[in-house]
Structure formats: C-alpha cells, structure tokens
Symmetry: D3
Subunit: 166 residues, 6 copies
C-alpha cells in the first residue's frame, strides 16, 4: 500500500496573539500530539494591538521553548496562501463559544472554497480556559487585577510593564 | 530530537451511521489526509435504527473500499474506553450546526474529564452537505423522494429496498 | 413586459397544529397580506397528538372563518410533493428562537435540494407570542392554568374538555 | 420608609434531580448567599427516571445537610402554582449552554405570563461543571466509568448500586 | 369577495451592497417569484464603504438588467419610512447564520413596533452562498485571491480595479 | 441557627445606560423585589456615548425616584472591584438574546475567577422589551421616529433635544 499523503503532518495555528494566553498554550499543547510540526502564525496586519508584531512573536517564542515541534512566525495576506507556502496540511482553530463557531464556520467554508485540499481542524477550549479572551485579560490588567493562571508568567510581566510601566 | 508521541496517528470516527451518508463520507475522506488510520466505529447500542448493526457496518465497508487506511468496526460501552483499546490518539466529529456544536462541546469536555490525553477534532461539514441528516434522508426515501447525491449509490439502493421492498 | 411567474401567489403553511395557537393565527393573519391564497396544511402522520387529525382541522377551520383566502387541509408524505400538487409557490414558516432557526434552516436547504423553484419564507413571531408552544399550552391546561390570550377561545374550550371532560 | 416586599426571601429551585450532581450543588451553594430560604423542588411527574421520587429526595436531603436554609420537597402540577403555595418570591435556574438558555427563556416568559410577580433568576454554571448532565453521568456509570468529582460521594455509591448491584 | 390588500405586491430589499454578491443576487432572483416588484434599497448613510453610493447602485443596476421587476434606489433615514413612501408591503432579508438571525429578529420586532402593517420576510441563503460576506470578498480580492463564483463578473472587475488599479 | 451571610442584600446593576430604557427600568423594577438595595452603576469610561456620564446619571435618577432602594452612581475600573467596595453580594444582568448570553457567560466566568464570592444573577427581558437596544432607539429618534413606550417620557424628551435641538 502506498500513501497518497505526505508523511509529515504540518499544521498552521493562526491568530493575533495580543498576547498569547493559557488558552492558546493549551491548543498548542494539544496540537503537537497529532501534528509533526505546528507553525504558530502571528497576523501582522492588525490595527490597535497592545503589543507590536515583534513583541507578540517574542512572547510566543518564549512560551513555546518546550516544544521543539513548534515554530513561530508572522504572516501577511491570505491565510490560505501562507498555509500553501508552508506546505502545511491543516489549519488549527480553537473554539470557545457558539459565536466563535459561526464565524469560524464561515471562514472554514471560504477556505474550502479557496483551497479544497487544506483542512481546518477545530478543538474545543478546555472548560477552565473558556472565558479567557485577550480583551478581558487586557481589561483586568489595566485595572490592576490578577491574570495569574490565565497567561504564562512572562506574559503577565510583559502586560504589567506595558500598562503600568516597570 | 526525539518524538514523544507515537509515529502512527490513529483516529476514531464514531457514529450510528443509519445509514452512512455523503456527509459522513466527506468527513472520512478529509480525515485520512491527516491520520494514518481512521477507525469508523459504529455504535451498536441504539434502539430504533432502520438498519441492523451488521447492515450498517456492511454499508460502510462497501463505501470505504477505496480507503485502505479506513477500518470499520462496532463498539459498545463508553467511546473513550473504545478509543483507548484501539490505542487511538484522537476522536473525529463532524459539525453541521450550532445545535451540534453545543452537544459536541459537552461530550468533548466530558471526554477530556475522563481521558485528558485523547483529543477530539472537529471538522465543519462542507456547505453542500450541511442539510443532510439521516432522519431527513429516511423521511425522503419513505415518501419516494430522491436522495441521489446525498448518499452513496449502494446505500440509496439499500434504503429503497428497506422501505419499499425490491 | 410579460410576467414569467403565475399571477396567483399561493403559500402552504404546514404544521401539526395540536392545537392551533394565537402564534399560528398571527402568522396566518400576516401571510394573507402577501399571498392570494394560504393553504394551512395539517400533518396527518404524527404520533401522540392530543387532538385527532379531524379535530385539529376543525379547530383551524373555526379559527379562520374570517379569512376567505385561507383553506385548511391535511397532508401526508413529503411536504414538497404536497406543495407541488397544490401548485403553490411558497412555504411559510414561523420562527420563534435560534433552535427553531437551525432546524428550519436544514429543512429549507433540503427542500431547495428537492425543489429549487419552491421558496420558503420565514416570519419572526411577534414578541408577545414568542413563548407560546403547543407543549407549554397543554401543560398549563393540564394543571388547570389559564391559556386565555394564548389560543382562540373555542380552542381553549376544546383543550379544557379534552383534559378535564365537560 | 416602609418595605413593600416580604422580609424573607424565598426561592424555589426546581428540577428532576435524577440524581443530584455537583452542578446542582453548586447552584444551591450560591443561592443560599442571597436567599433566606431555598426550596429544592423535585418534580414527581417524570417518566423513566433511574431513581424513584423518594430516592431522588433522599439523595438531595443527604447532600444538603450542611445548609439549614435548604428544604427539599416534591411538587406536582404547574411550577408557578407550587411557588405561590410556598409564598416564594423567586425561581432559581442554572444555565449551562445556549440550548438551555433558549428553552429557559420560553419557560420564563410563560411563567411571567402566568404570574407577573414571581421572578426567575438564572445563574451560569461554573466552567468546571459546564459539561455535567445527569444523562452523561448515567451513561458513564453504566459502563463502569468514573464520576468522582461530578456527583457527591453518596450519590456515586447510589448510582453504582443502581446500575451494578452491590 | 373583495380583497382588502393591494393587488400589487411590492417588497423592499435593503442593504449596503458594498458590493453586491452572488448571495444577494440569489435573494433577488428568489424574491421576484413572489413579489410583483422588488425595490433594492441601497443604504446611503454608511461610513467606510469601498464603493461610493453611486458605484454600489450602478453595480446593482448592471447586475439586475435581466429582472424588469427590480428597481434599484438609495435610501436615507429609517427603513420603515422608506418602505411606506414606496407603498411597499414587505421587507425582504436574507439569513445566513444564527448571528444574523438574532440581529434580524431584533430589527424585525422594532419594525413591527413602528409599523404593524409592514411585514418582514426572511429567506435562508442557499448553502453554496452561506459563507459569502462582503468583508470576506474584499479580504480575498485585496490579497489577489479569486472571487469568481462569489460575485457577478463585472463586480469582480470593479473590485480588482478598486484594489489593484487597472 | 445563625446566618452566615449578611442580612442586607445589595446588588449592583451595571451598564452604560446611554440612555436608560424601559428595558432597563423593568430589570430595576424586578430587582428590588429581591434585593434590599440596588446600586445602578453607570460605566464612565466609554467612548462615543450620546449623553455625558453626568447626563446618563441624571436621567437614571429621574427615572428611579419611585424606588427608595435604588441608588445611582458611576464607576470606573473593574466592575468586580466596584462591587467589593460597595460591599454588594450580587451583580444583576438582563438577557435579551443568545448573543447577549454568550458574552455575559464569559464575563460571569471571568468575574467568578476574580471573586468567587460575588454572584451574577441574570434576568430574562420581558418579551415586550426584547427588541429594545439603545442603538436602535438612537437610530429611531435620529430619523424622527417614535420611541414612546420604549423609554421613560423624560428620556424621550432628552433624546429629542439631543438630536434635534429644542
């Protein structure tokens, strides 16, 4: 029997990651169980992020040092073109809520239209990460609340510095 | 670098399959691009199916002859126990609608509770298969409607025979 | 300019109507503003209704005497076949909630698959009828609660008699 | 200033409780912070429960001994009539998911229609209890799975005995 | 029997149409089967459209030359006032997803409050157009992706010119 | 028996209130049946409101003169910190739709994470207020539509003056 699909399974996990949270880290941790390589793709073309593209990438690199299969990079343009360039087989997306689901469904159908051979896989957020959004985390930090357990420690420090100086 | 995860990726795709539809076939077709082996697991313990467990398995076997990576089998008991026995890494589920999503979310969280190391991956139904449910197909066939394009041809024949004799 | 569509607009409003409620009556009242004829189609093939098919039809006929454009009849088999037989152009459905929406979406897509030329139109329930379901009404009546304002008066009487004798 | 509402706040927390879970216990625990008395009302008129009404009540009584403000009782008929008889001010309901929400919304609107002065309060399930349903728990126990952390210990024992004898 | 409603059925199909897509065209095509006249009403008062009001109208006029029953015009102010001025009987809206549904439900209830005699009819998007949003189309074109099959050909050309010059 | 919870039940009802509507008033009216004191907390830190913080507070004070238990105040920063400062036991939120529900669910879970002892209670909007949003009301007033029955009379006047001068 000959395999018709590439031996190496490569997935792209795209996002803005402003900043990376424990919810994102959980999806990464679970993705590497199935995929040989996971490319975390940080969207460059977004207005009004708190962290610059470079900062968002660096926070992710620091967060994923334990995963040799994970590579962090930026992308511009259509996600589907980036996925092709990387010769990846799949897109990974986390789902937290019904409203996520609907938007993601439309994206997935559009991506199927643009590239039938690239598959989107969805993973449900663990229940303890369900309520973590980067918007909520920034709001909490802004008013001196505690985001311990919600983001990696070095991200907590970076948030604190960004909002309240050293 | 040494891999900490098994080389062979095995996914279980569970369901009642009463009978298999083109929607199911699409999920199978897309799963084998990522997984080395896909075990289609037919739930035995369901009341009021039109086809017997044996018939449901046979219709699936006939539908998947083109996929050497696919194995069709029945299961009883907790899905998560079956997945373990098969030494599989993942569960595959198709999503068609928000109502699917919510129920699947609860199942996925329960399965995470029971077995943290087994991952559930969700795939969105293609738009042209979104409205296919086995209940609708049985209703259409029962009243002599056409289900061509909705199920494999030999399944159409089996449905016809089941509802209207030869 | 020649019209390519029939002058007479005929809509089918299908349902179980066990029994007709003020929510149904509102949809009928609003349908006749657009359609020349509205055929209320009572599904015959349902188990466990409180009222027989004949009773459900009679309650509807009594409820619609003020509407000369409305015709009440039963149907068996596929709705789409019944719509064709009646040479109707459209199906009317009321929507109360997201869960209605999803199921109706699947039905509408299946009906499009079976008959591209027959259109389903959805009307949102008025807010004051949003919570009326035949199941809730039967539950309330069963325990001697008041369903005035929720069903036509003769339906209230029929419900009372059905549950509590004369 | 004279108060126009009763000094004592009494809430009814209705359900089937077949059996009581840690999700239910969490709602009870949070309700007693606001209400002077919480009446857990066990629905008697349900077919196909695993535990008899008496057993369901006893499991709840054992689970709530630490709460002097909690009273466990059965009810028949319309919930709203029971609430009135108890001279309660409020109904408590837990919400886990969008599908819960929609059904509960319809119930709450119907109850408002029947009794404008009785208020329904909803509490969101804690994220760690979100996936607990009595159906899932019974399924897990049936196949010898572990429901520790999901139900109180004596309920786990009762479930085990019910499904697998001593 | 005398009719109490006008012989001519006129529907308003409002939107921003920045630009018109095949999803919009499908709704127009299906609307003219039931309504004698369909007025496509282009909202003028929107910030940040890619095409000017005049361009959006012209693209629609070019797209609807085959439909003598369709008239394209702009509107300002409350939709319900515009509908009255046009002596129309109905508003047409397309639905793609649950999130559309909820927002449209609120609009429809508000419009019922403002004008009880004007009816909103909803049509479900065909499954092959479900994922088409003007935002997605603009994103795809911006990065040189293909939107063939998603918009009429002259709209594709206009998008290309707008984003990438001739 | 000694009570372990404070005798006085204090709830915070937070919002932007730009301006207060009859939907908000209904929630206030229903809250005071259960809580000894209801603190209406007007969010100060919001861009692009039509009314200034002071105006929004004044419109609320005028609207709640009949309720001696209600206190209107502004808050800045994290809601949960404000609730603590006020020594309140609970947060009150109204729900109109599934999309409200999801966002509120995430807020409630985040607030549980930040302060386990403060409870969020949800009340479903009455059906006749379901479609009232401050955005819709401002849109209607802007184009000289009627918002009578949707907001208190003095709010209607204030809106009229704000949009159209005296």
């Amino acid at each position: 029997m000959t395999k018709k699909f590439p031996q190496e399974r490569i997935a792209v996990y795209p996002g803005v990651f402003d900043p990376v949270t424990n919810g994102h880290m959980d999806i990464i941790d679970r993705s590497v169980r199935i995929f040989d390589r996971v490319i975390v793709a940080v969207a460059g073309n977004r207005p009004q992020t708190i962290f610059t593209l470079e900062e968002r990438i660096n926070l992710l690199i620091q967060s994923t040092t334990a995963y040799p299969q994970v590579q962090v990079t930026s992308f511009e343009g259509l996600l589907i073109d980036f996925v092709r360039e990387q010769q990846a087989n799949a897109i990974i997306r986390g789902l937290r809520a019904v409203s996520d689901f609907e938007l993601e469904f439309q994206y997935a159908l559009m991506n199927q239209h643009l590239a039938e051979d690239i598959e989107t896989f969805f993973m449900m957020s663990r229940s303890r990460f369900m309520f973590i959004t980067t918007a909520a985390i920034k709001q909490v930090i802004r008013f001196h609340g505690c985001v311990h357990d919600l983001v990696p420690e070095h991200v907590e420090n970076a948030l604190w510095e960004k909002f309240h100086g050293q």
